[in-house]
């Protein structure tokens, strides 16, 4: 048994594997199969200050080894999350990263303010891929200046560490990460889904517009992780296309402090526990005692 634990934003996590936001519901849904304390940390479904209905169906479209989703951030809101869902993580003593979003900069600030500190909360994770309604629906995370502004405002509003989750749909992702860092972000998560669309040739209509996820993302995200972790001195969480422990190890070696697993869980609900066991077995087989020893070894 290698030591897979790590310290992230001052909190001890038992391993570096988390779920990606919105791919493990509120946590309780997976418990018939495995308990949430399997995770290094549980990343909450994206929360807003008030409950949000999300998009009307259809919300899913399958592509070759990929999934387009248009769930639209359906969630029960911060208040109900802490009243109804958080007790499970207290019961299981599981660290939590609270993912949140807004449709205006003020929304983000008010939502962050509503999340109180708790010994199990590792960080807030700000979803920067939402359409900014006041800016004509432009995704906030696409402009370094907007990222700087909203990250700074949120940092002023909360004492909790803040992870900026970036959209890949930018020309210079290192520049965006730097803007988040300079505004005070404590960590970077790359990356979110790619904007995509599908056409139903039977109905001759657009079938779905949404975010594309799946194993194709891995090399793209890996490149971003390597570039960002080399140039920005805060922890990077690697997310995108991780299907097995080899993918997860690639991210860690590229410089990620931790990884998030999303779509893989839909294909195999045991993907996360298998990845954790796989990392452990990989280290054991090579007589590597601690996870630390492989972090960033492949950084260019």
């Amino acid at each position: 048994m290698a030591d897979l634990s790590l310290k992230l934003f001052g909190k001890r996590l038992r391993n570096p594997v988390m779920n990606a936001s919105g791919t493990l519901g509120y946590g309780s849904e997976i418990e018939p199969l495995w308990t949430v304390d399997t995770l290094g940390a549980y990343v909450s479904k994206g929360l807003s200050l008030l409950p949000h209905h999300g998009n009307p169906p259809p919300r899913l479209w399958e592509e070759a080894s990929a999934l387009i989703n248009s769930v639209g951030l359906q969630n029960i809101g911060v208040k109900r999350f802490f009243e109804e869902k958080f007790p499970l993580f207290e019961q299981r003593n599981t660290p939590v990263i609270v993912n949140f979003f807004g449709f205006t900069e003020e929304d983000y600030v008010r939502c962050a303010e509503a999340i109180g500190a708790h010994s199990l909360i590792v960080a807030l994770e700000i979803n920067l891929s939402c359409p900014n309604i006041k800016a004509g629906g432009i995704c906030l995370g696409k402009e370094a200046e907007a990222v700087f502004r909203v990250v700074r405002k949120v940092k002023e509003a909360t004492p909790l560490p803040l992870v900026a989750k970036l959209t890949p749909e930018v020309t210079d992702i290192v520049g965006i990460a730097r803007a988040a860092f300079e505004a005070g972000a404590d960590g970077i998560n790359v990356l979110n889904t790619f904007p995509a669309a599908a056409v139903d040739i039977e109905s001759k209509a657009l079938a779905l517009r949404g975010g594309l996820s799946g194993p194709f993302l891995k090399p793209l995200a890996l490149r971003s992780v390597a570039d960002i972790s080399r140039s920005i001195p805060i922890p990077v969480i690697g997310t995108g296309g991780i299907m097995d422990h080899r993918d997860a190890l690639s991210f860690l070696m590229a410089g990620a402090a931790a990884v998030q697993v999303g779509t893989a869980t839909f294909v195999d609900p045991f993907a996360i526990p298998k990845i954790i066991r796989g990392i452990d077995a990989f280290l054991d087989a090579r007589r590597i005692a601690r996870l630390d020893e492989i972090i960033g070894t492949a950084r260019a």
Partner: protein, 251 residues
Amino acid sequence: MDDIEGLIVRNDPVVPGYFRASIRLSKPMAGIRPGQFVMLKVPSSEVFLRRPFSVYDYRRGLLSVLYKVAGKGTAALAEARARQRVMVLGPLGNGFTVLAGHEAIVVAGGIGIAGVSLLWSKLRGKKSLFWGCASDAEAGLVNDMISCEPYVSTMDGSLGCKGSVVDLLSQHITALKRPAQVFACGPEPMFVSLRDLLKGERIPCQVLLEERMACGLGICFGCVRKTLDEAEPYKRVCKEGPVFDLWQISL
């Protein structure tokens, strides 16, 4: 609930375009209730996500699903041969609730029969089955399951009553004993006409809905259905369903 490895024992056409697959599970699947479903990992590298199937039958470790070839996943499953390995996640979702002392009226449209077959076999007491399909070419879908005489309708009139299954039900509904409850599975228009028919009758009705799914577990929020709950209109078919009260869903 568990993710269980299975081996396909049989996977044969029942009538053209419809197949029945029987899967020998490597360990028993606990507590399957009628109306619940499984997520199958179809043995094809072309199919990325699992696919949901109602449990058509389950006895002594042998699980079967009845399906219509409707897309990439079911087409790939239809190609699967005996002894191929499949992963079977289940049982999932909420099944039907049988009310004590009620006569059961089971209504199915086309492949909707796959969703109510297990229920039918478990129902004790007085029950009747109404089944509608396109034509007599599909008649074989009910043959191996029904020990009684079902009420049958076909859209083209080639078998039984001509018209929809709800038209057929409407001709008999006053003769059925009260209290009664309806269980239904079928296409969307069937639910709409059921609602119109049952509106005045105050008969409880549970419907089994079908939706594209990614996880089947309630973790992705992809398979929602709009309901009349204004506070939280979108309910997960896999988690809050797949059985819903007809009067709660938005049609």
